[in-house]
């Protein structure tokens, strides 16, 4: 067993086990803890998948930001000492059954595909466009720069034979998502702040 495989199994076990623990735990704070473990393990898997920038983003935004926000929410809305979510055994049983079935379907499908031979071959050999863009992320794992370039709309990693980019640049979503974040910020600030009432609005269409 190679070191990479060993690390994969370690992090995969942590990710799956913690995810399961999130479902099985009744206490919200412990759920948050297990969620952190799971998301952290996923970040490690990102590092294993040679996506170091993404792994760091996952740690910074998800684990360090979103989960802190969630825990903050738990603390602000806790009525009792520790918020317990009671799940009846019947619900748990039903959830386990449906979830198990879903997992079975997904797993059997995913494991049934021979990616290297069937899909990659079919797509790689026969599709002109796919062939041109047949550059998986380079193995150095230094994806920060290509990602940054893709965000400003340049794709040096996917250049066709004629020198034109075969994959889209992501300038538009990169810019427009900032508008979205601004709007979300306005909305969240509105909902969270106390109502300031100066005077009732009486004048319409003034």
């Amino acid at each position: 067993m190679t070191l990479e495989a060993l690390l994969f199994y370690l992090f995969a076990a942590i990710a799956c086990g913690s995810a399961l623990a999130v479902v099985l735990t009744d206490n919200v704070v412990r759920m948050a803890f297990w969620l952190v473990m799971s998301l952290g393990a996923v970040a490690s898997l990102f590092f294993l998948l040679e996506a170091d920038f993404l792994g760091a983003t996952q740690l910074l935004i998800y684990v360090g930001g979103t989960v802190v926000l969630l825990v903050f929410g738990v603390m602000l809305t806790a009525t009792g000492p520790y918020v317990q979510i009671k799940t009846t055994p019947a619900e748990m049983f039903l959830g386990a059954g449906v979830g198990g079935l879903l997992l079975l379907v997904l797993a059997s499908t995913v494991m049934g595909i021979n990616w290297e031979n069937d899909v990659a071959h079919a797509l790689g050999a026969e599709s002109e466009a796919a062939l041109a863009a047949d550059t998986t992320v380079d193995q150095s794992g230094t994806t920060g720069r290509p990602l940054g370039l893709a965000f400003v709309g340049v794709r040096p990693d996917a250049v066709g034979p004629d020198g034109a980019a075969t994959r889209p640049g992501y300038l538009l979503p990169f810019e427009i998502v900032s508008v979205h974040l601004l709007v979300v910020l306005i909305g969240a600030a509105y909902l969270a702040r106390a109502k300031r009432r100066v005077e009732p609005a009486t004048d319409l269409l003034s």
Partner: protein, 544 residues
């Protein structure tokens, strides 16, 4: 490298007369409007100049830009233009949708000004959310990439969550918002998982590439369900459809709709009911056309046919459920919510017809393209009518609420004589929603049913769905009539608040402007509107 990029963005580099930024003008104007409102509040300008003027003017500028583009584009005789390096697509279809949405935004802002739902302090927040959601919907209208699809859905839903909870002191409002955000986030998550499966399997996320990849991937092999790759594709598509079903409140993902519409103010309800639904339908059409291509293998066609029929059955169930559940409602907004579900069902029938028609084709042929175009045309026409009748119904509900402080149907007793303009307007909207002959809704239903009838030649099950759709129209008559009955045949209690909404007030004029177009189908307007819709629909099909 960067200079070509700049060229692409600013002007033409591929010989096209439209640069990316130019095509993106309306969205940029709306975004600028959001920033302007923020700055206005920062500098205290909103004390002197009410925020709704900024919102209204920026939307109007965006609308003018949209009209300009539409005219220019129609004149240039171009089929489709991909912009922002293929992430977005511009054709008559998206141009028309953009016009409709911006016009709707103008109407909604006017309505909020008349009904005064965001007060002066909260107006910048409300209009920012409204315009932010609209930018997302505009993105949905032109999405040509799975990322843009998800981004558009998120950008339009997340501000909507906040808008539903906008009356934050109200218990019902905050409860509606919580339910909406929790279920909405879940549906978006499932949708994203589906997107990840599809993108990974096909190795691309661009809509035009998806068809090519599907063809190459399943060219040599059997594309029956025993092939795990097909199963994975179908799982992905189903999960994608879950996201759509949630946005469209299709059974069994409709459960949030009544609660959310009841908890939110009627203005927001109207926005969600019309704008969000139409954006989702437009996006669904694009997605369907990307996946279901006549060029796919015969096996795949068979699977798609089953999928289309399944969607048809679900559409029939949705319409029936919406109409049946509306019977027992006592709250007007809740009734309109169930009516929205029912109408989603009708419009989904057009989508089902589109899929069935496309899937029934022999690989490589384009024989049914005109009929497919007719299904899309029907959907567009229906959306145009739906715009007026549903917004009208919600607007009148809001106006009545402003006078009587109630949204219960029983409190509408005797309104017919006290506020005739509101009652007549409501009557026209409701009868149009039923689809009674002289009104716009009738023509819309006719177009959709015609498309469903066409698809019956591919598979007779569609005729059964058509029959259910027709029956539903009859069902729905009764609960809409109940509202009218309360308004006209019941005496207004002496203790009830009196209404004073004359026809020459702002409210009266607004109602008139909204409801008069519903009468237009009497004349040549049908041909005019359906002509525009037809050209827009045909621009989607390369064969025409």
């Amino acid at each position: 490298m960067f200079s070509t990029l700049l060229n692409q963005i600013l002007s033409d580099s591929t010989g096209q007369p439209f640069g990316s930024l130019q095509l993106f003008g309306p969205e940029l104007t709306l975004s600028a409007g959001i920033v302007l409102m923020l700055l206005a509040r920062l500098c205290g300008i909103d004390r002197r100049l009410p925020t709704h003027w900024i919102a209204l003017w920026m939307t109007f500028i965006a609308f003018s830009l949209g009209v300009f583009q539409f005219v220019e584009f129609s004149r240039s005789d171009l089929g489709t233009v991909e912009y922002f390096s293929g992430l977005m697509v511009f054709d008559r279809f998206s141009a028309l949708f953009r016009l409709g949405l911006l016009l709707f935004l103008i109407f909604t802002i006017t309505l909020t000004v008349i009904s005064g739902i965001p007060d002066r302090d909260d107006a910048p927040d409300f209009y920012s959310l409204l315009m932010g959601a609209s930018v997302g919907m505009l993105l949905m209208g032109g999405a040509n990439h799975l990322l843009m699809l998800f981004l558009g859905v998120e950008m339009s839903s997340v501000p909507s969550y906040a808008m539903v909870g906008f009356l934050k002191g109200r218990k019902a409002s905050s409860e509606a918002a919580l339910k909406f955000v929790v279920y909405g986030a879940g549906a978006a998550g499932v949708m994203l998982y589906g997107i990840s499966l599809i993108a990974g399997l096909l190795g691309t996320a661009e809509f035009p590439q998806i068809a090519i990849q599907l063809q190459t991937l399943f060219a040599g092999e059997s594309a029956a369900l025993s092939n795990p790759a097909i199963r994975l594709l179908m799982l992905g598509i189903l999960m994608l459809l879950v996201g759509f079903a949630f946005k469209l409140s299709v059974v069994p993902f409709h459960f949030w709709t009544p609660d959310v519409f009841q908890g939110a103010s009627a203005e927001v309800g109207g926005f969600l009911s019309v704008a969000s639904k139409s954006a989702a339908f437009v996006l669904l059409v694009r997605t369907v056309l990307a996946f279901v291509t006549p060029a796919s293998s015969a096996d795949l066609g068979q699977i798609y046919l089953t999928l289309g029929l399944g969607i048809g059955v679900i559409a029939a169930i949705t319409a029936t459920f919406g109409n049946l559940a509306a019977y027992s409602q006592t709250n007007m907004k809740r009734l309109l919510a169930y009516s929205t579900i029912a109408h989603s069902g009708y419009m989904l029938m057009a989508i089902a017809a589109l899929i069935v028609l496309r899937a029934g084709l022999e690989p490589g042929s384009t024989g049914y393209d005109d009929r497919c175009a007719r299904a899309v045309e029907g959907l567009l026409y229906y959306l145009a009518v739906y715009f007026f009748m549903n917004l009208g119904a919600f607007a009148i509900t809001a106006l009545i609420r402003n006078e009587t402080f109630s949204e219960e149907i029983e409190d509408y007793a005797g309104l017919g004589f006290q506020a005739p303009i509101l009652a007549i307007g409501m009557g026209m909207c409701l009868f149009s929603l039923v689809g009674l002959p002289p009104l716009g809704g009738f023509v819309g239903k006719l177009f959709i049913f015609a498309a469903v009838y066409d698809s019956g030649f591919v598979h007779p099950l569609m005729w059964g769905i058509l029959a259910i759709g027709g029956l539903n129209t009859v069902f729905s008559l009764f609960y809409y009539i109940r509202v009218m009955k309360t308004m006209y045949l019941q005496e207004r209690p002496a203790t009830a608040r009196a209404l004073r909404v004359p026809a020459w007030s702002y409210s009266g004029a607004f109602v008139l402007i909204l409801t008069l177009p519903l009468l237009l189908p009497l004349g040549t307007a049908v041909q005019l509107v359906s002509g525009v819709a037809k050209r827009a629909a045909m621009s989607l099909f390369a064969g025409l």
